[in-house]
Amino acid sequence: MGRLLSKLAVGAVAAASLIGGAGAASAEPLVAGVEASFPPWAYVESGEYKGIAIDAMRAIAEDQGLEVEFRDLPWPSLIPALAKGRIDLLVTGLNITEERNEVLDFSIPWWENDDEVLVPLDSDLNVVTALCCGATVGAQGGATQLQWLEDNLGANEDVDVTLRSYEDYVTAVEDMGAGRLDAVVTSTDTAEDFIAKDRPVKIVGTIQQNQPQALAVQKGDPKELLGKLNAGIMNIYRSGEWEEIVRQYSPQSTIRPIPASMPDYVDAYQEPIPGYSE
């Protein structure tokens, strides 16, 4: 019996050292939080982080002499993790919104998106009927699309829609394929990615949003990263590296000038903008 117990004790010690090893990651490189199931911005293929945001961040890091490691977190955890300082910056197709501006600081916007109304390939619905008259519409929980649908359609009693939120857009589109949704509203590049990957969906309408996207750091920028990020974004944009990266992952996209539209409410866009306006 004593031997069995001592074996178990050895096991517990081994377990403890494994925990210690896992927790003792060096604090040196910056930790970039990503949600790696968000193509074409950030995803994992064959064990490697890929996507526009990932490659662009690598290019910016090289340009600015930063060391960055990526850490994958579920989408709803990303902003809280940044706000709490568990990650140093957020690297994904992050939309700039007023609420997010309250808890984090944005880099200059490198992208602009609209929202697309997706329906099944064989659906007869059009841009109007897909979003009214008893339709059931899906979007990702916590995403700006769902917020827009709630504010503009869900809150309006004359528009008869049922909104459903999903953990991610793949599940939403799959659910639409199963007939449980009439339409899915997603950002332009996600919609185009679905079509490029031969999912049986089509775009029946575009909701013009001019929604800018950017990188984000902790509120108040305690690690003084914004200057480097902004300078790096401008450098890879001017050198043409940005265009190469976007073309690689999303050949159908229109590349918009950087910086894209900068909303007045964003604290980090008050002059002088570090790394950009000086």
Binding site: M1, L8, G11, I19, G23, S37, G47, L73, V170, V173
Partner: protein
């Protein structure tokens, strides 16, 4: 086409299994040490210790695993810098301790009181009697119910992805999102992997139960 993808992605799924198994071993080890201690305290301890054991067990059995994971990752991590993996081991391990304490408590109580009295009458101290007389029997009896705990914790590791532990379920989601679909095919393979490893684990535990069975011994020797 999805078959090809699944074959090329299999090493990453298996790496996910490996992470899940590491998590499982760590959390079960934590649960075992703590659960056994709690059980002994609950049966033989002073009433304050007993009270503490009951409170601990009620709390950790009464909160959903996913909520515990979020609490440990976002709550505890405010005070101590711990990784997602460590947070998952703590959250699921403490919960497992609560469940395991009930398994061990039951099997300790199933050993007849007379054995303890006899051991004490022979001059053994109480801790010695627990170690040499009670536990060798009680632990053997625990293996059967413990297979339940093993299976349910194996499956619970799949929840750890909510705090960013890249285990099997998360690896599966990577394949789904990089191909923008194939949910059914990918999760069918993942289900098969969980099933296989669960089955192997249970097979090992039942073998252990047979191997440790004391032949001819009236209680706990039925195996």
């Amino acid at each position: 086409m999805i078959v090809e993808i699944l074959i090329t992605q299999m090493p990453y799924l298996l790496h996910g299994v490996w992470v899940a198994l590491q998590l499982l071993v760590c959390l079960l080890a934590l649960g075992f040490v703590l659960g056994l201690s709690l059980a002994i305290l609950e049966v033989y301890g002073h009433w304050t210790l007993r009270w503490f054991g009951v409170l601990f067990e009620r709390i950790f059995r009464g909160i959903p695993a996913i909520v515990l994971l979020l609490l440990f990752y976002y709550g505890v991590a405010d005070f101590v810098d711990i990784s997602a993996f460590t947070a998952a081991v703590l959250a699921l391990g403490l919960r497992s301790a609560a469940y395991q304490s009930q398994i061990f408590r039951g099997s300790i109580l199933s050993i007849s009181q007379g054995q303890m009295l006899a051991a004490r009458a022979m001059g053994m101290s109480k801790p010695m009697a627990i170690r040499e007389i009670i536990l060798p029997q009680a632990l053997r009896l625990s293996i059967g119910p413990w297979t339940n705990e093993f299976s349910s914790e194996m499956k619970a590791t799949s929840l750890a992805y909510v705090i960013g532990v890249v285990e099997l379920t998360r690896q599966a989601r990577y394949i789904i999102s990089s191909t923008q679909g194939n949910i059914l095919a990918v999760f069918a393979v993942v289900a098969a992997l969980y099933f296989i490893f669960n089955w192997l684990g249970n097979w090992g535990l039942y073998r252990l139960e047979r191997k440790l069975a004391v032949p001819g011994f009236e209680q706990g020797g039925q195996g």
